[in-house]
Assembly symmetry: C2
Homo-oligomer: 293 residues x 2
C-alpha cells in the first residue's frame, strides 16, 4: 500500500460522502472508510514504532516513524494493530449495542489514527486532510446512529433579511425532537471558543436549546519534536467561562479523553465531557427535545 | 539596512513594550516604532514594485518583490514612500488633532505595512511576527490616546472559583468610565467570531457594555499568487449574525477599509465600521460609560 493508493481510497471516500450522493450515513460510506482504514493499517505496519516520553499522567504514547518523518502521538492503550474485521465492520455500521463504550472508543480511535498517522508520514505539514477525514468518520458514525444525513448551512429569517450561514454539521431529526449541532475537531486549543460562539448564534436565531450542541474531539496531545515528549494542552477554566457566559454545549466527546476535561462534569457548570463510545448509549437524551438533559 | 538590523530594531521594540518596562503607551515605545519603520522603509526602497491585478472595485494594489519573493498586497492609495518625519512623529505621538482622519489612516497604514512587507520578504512563511508587531503598533497608539497601559488578562470571581482568562488588550479607564476591550488583527476571516465571543464573556462576567469592544484590523486582502490578482474576503452577513446574537462590538476600525463592511453601519444592527483615523476623534464616545453610543 503506497501513497497513491491511499490517496485514491481517500478520494473515493470523499466523493461518496461529499459528491452527488452526499450520503454520509450510508453503508457505502462505511465501506469506503473501512477500505481506507485497511489500506492505512497496511502502510503503518511497514513503519518503525518509537516510544515517546509521556508527560501526561497515566497515559503512554508512541509515534510511527519513517526515518526523520514521524506521525502525531498515538495513545498506546487505545490504539490496536490487531483490530478484528468484525469489530471494524460493527463499529462502522453502528452495530455496537453489545460492545463496551471503552471498546467502541478504542476501535474508533484506531480507525481515526490510522489515516491521520499515515498522512502525517506521507504528506508533511498537511493538517487539512486529516481534519476533513476525521469530520467524515465522525459525521458518518453520528449520522448513521441518528438515521439522518446532516446539512452544513443554516438559514434564519430576520426582520430585515434572510441570513444564511455556513455551519458545522447540523441534523434535523423532526419537529418533535431536538436538532443537533455537531462540531468535529482533531484538537481544540484556543480555537474552541468558536464552538460555543456558533452554539450561541443557533440559540439566538432559533431559541435556546432548539439545537443541542455536541462537540467531538480526537485528542489534545502536543508533541515536542526535539525532546521526544508529549503533553496535553487543556484550558478547563476557559471552557468553564464559555459554558457559563456564551452558551451551553450539551455534550463533549473525546476519543482520547484528557483528564482535566473529564473532571469538568463534576463541578459547576457541569460540562458533560465523556469518551465518544458513550454517545451510542445516550442518543435518546440527545434526541429528546427541550432544555433538560 | 539588512535582515539582522531589522530584527534588532524589532527586538528592541518588543523588549520595550513587553519587557520589564511594559510601557506600551510611552514615547520611548513610539521612538522604537519609528526606528523600526525607518529601517524597513530603507530596505523596501531597494526592492522592485510589481502591480497586481486588483479584483476589488476602486482599489489598486502592488507588492514589493525580491526575485520570486513577494510581500503581501499594498494599497497604492494608502501607502506612501515619502511620509515626512514630522508626520511619522506626530502620528506615533498621537498629536493628530490637526490632521484629517484619512491622512492619519494612510500614515499608520504605511508604518504598519512597512514592517509587514519587509518581514514577508525576509522571513518567508512567518505570520506570527507581523501579527505581534501590528498589535504593538495599534496598542501603542490606542494606549497613548487613552493615556493608560493595557493588561492582557482578566479575573472574574464566580460563586465557585476565581476564573482568570487571557484576553486581548483591555483598558481600565477608571470607575466612572467604560473599560475597553481591544482585539487587534492583521485580517479576520473565519476566526473573527472569537472577537464577538470574547466580548460576550466580558459582558457575561461584568455586565453588558461594562467593556466597550473596539476591533482594529489592517486589511482583508487575499493575494492569488499565480494569477497575480488580489481580492477581499468579506463575510458581512456573518458579522450581522454575530452582532445580533453573540454580543455588540462598539466599533470596528480598519486601516484598509473593505467597502462591504463599511456598508454595515447603514443597516440593522448598524455595526460601526470605519477607518482607523476616525478613532482619534471619538475617544470621548468610547470612554463614556454605559450602553448608549
Amino acid at each position: 500500500m503506497n501513497k497513491t493508493e491511499i490517496e485514491r481510497l481517500y478520494e473515493a471516500l470523499k466523493k461518496r460522502a461529499e459528491g452527488a450522493a452526499r450520503d454520509l450515513k450510508g453503508q457505502e460510506t462505511g465501506d469506503k472508510l473501512r477500505n481506507l482504514y485497511v489500506g492505512c493499517r497496511g502502510f503503518l505496519q511497514t513503519l518503525e514504532i518509537r516510544e515517546l516520553t509521556s508527560l501526561i499522567p497515566r497515559k503512554s504514547y508512541f509515534v510511527f516513524a519513517d526515518g526523520d518523518r514521524t506521525s502525531r502521538p498515538v495513545n498506546a492503550s487505545l490504539y490496536s494493530d490487531s483490530l478484528s474485521s468484525e469489530t471494524v465492520q460493527a463499529v462502522l455500521n453502528c452495530a455496537v449495542s453489545a460492545m463496551a463504550p471503552s471498546t467502541i472508543t478504542a476501535a474508533i480511535y484506531t480507525i481515526a489514527m490510522s489515516y491521520c498517522c499515515a498522512n502525517d508520514i506521507l504528506k508533511r505539514g498537511d493538517q487539512k486532510t486529516p481534519g476533513t477525514f476525521f469530520e467524515l468518520l465522525i459525521g458518518h458514525l453520528v449520522s448513521s446512529a441518528l438515521g439522518v444525513n446532516p446539512t452544513t448551512q443554516i438559514t434564519a429569517p430576520t426582520l430585515d433579511l434572510n441570513i444564511t450561514l455556513p455551519t458545522d454539521f447540523v441534523f434535523d431529526l423532526g419537529a418533535d425532537k431536538s436538532r443537533v449541532h455537531l462540531p468535529i475537531k482533531t484538537s481544540t486549543r484556543e480555537r474552541v471558543v468558536q464552538v460555543w460562539a456558533h452554539q450561541r448564534v443557533l440559540d439566538g436565531m432559533h431559541g435556546v436549546a432548539r439545537f443541542k450542541g455536541v462537540l467531538v474531539v480526537m485528542a489534545e496531545t502536543n508533541k515536542q519534536e526535539k525532546a521526544e515528549t508529549v503533553t496535553e494542552v487543556c484550558l478547563p477554566n476557559q471552557w468553564t467561562a464559555y459554558q457559563m457566559y456564551i452558551a451551553q454545549m450539551f455534550r463533549v466527546y473525546y476519543l482520547d479523553l484528557p483528564e482535566p476535561y473529564s473532571r469538568l462534569k463534576d463541578r459547576y457548570p457541569f460540562i458533560q465531557v465523556k469518551q465518544f463510545g458513550d454517545f451510542f448509549f445516550e442518543i435518546d437524551k440527545i434526541e429528546r427535545s427541550g432544555l433538560v438533559g
